[in-house]
Symmetry: C2
Subunit: 128 residues, 2 copies
């Protein structure tokens, strides 16, 4: 059941991204200093204000992203959960695969899972 | 104190890498199916056998890696801990920075922190 809740929170991240909806994206994240986000090829952004600013900037772009998620694994350990998955980016840029790691932490009071870390990196070579 | 233990486990990862010591590297990791490792530009390797094979292969190369670690932050939540850091790779390949996320889980019985996930990606643009 925990894993299903985490998968649901993860799904909301991609729905917010595809809709370029900053409010929905903000609702997905833990808006704290420990939030980190590493977009493909970027330095790691640290703290919610940097992370939020990056999504604000990305959502200004006319290109809408579409994600096909594959190889998704969820692991839960206490109040922390992490997902490994592949983001297959559709659209004008063609078939890019982004190896992704997403970390969620469950709030003690609300029981809600919030994203704390996102790390994506383009796959340049398949070695598996 | 937990954060110091995690930082110590993280340090052993880089010492094992610099020494190209597969036994020491194996001792750092949780040798389980949930172990994942994303080397820069690679697909995510899943399960200890794939992760181990990648280090075996990397350690066959004559080039020895040297890491200068910067921007290291440690966060602990129960029996899970994660580090955000930059690996600054020295050596013949010049100044490459790898944005890195490392996840550790504490074993309930031994109390030992073991690496469960490693994700590194080369930084192509500085946006911070």
């Amino acid at each position: 059941m925990d894993a299903a809740e985490v998968a649901d929170a993860n799904r909301r991240y991609y729905e917010a991204f595809e809709a370029a909806d900053l409010d929905a994206m903000s609702a997905v994240w833990e808006r704290s200093e420990r939030a980190t986000c590493t977009h493909p090829g970027w330095s790691t952004l640290r703290g919610w204000s940097q992370v939020q600013a990056s999504f604000f900037s990305l959502f200004q772009q006319p290109l809408r992203m579409q994600f096909l998620l594959t190889r998704q694994d969820v692991h839960v350990e206490g109040d922390v959960a992490w997902l490994s998955l592949d983001e297959n980016l559709l659209g004008e840029q063609g078939g890019v695969t982004v190896a992704t790691f997403n970390l969620f932490v469950r709030d003690h009071w609300s029981g809600q899972w919030s994203m704390v870390c996102h790390h994506g990196s383009a796959v340049h070579a398949s070695v598996t």
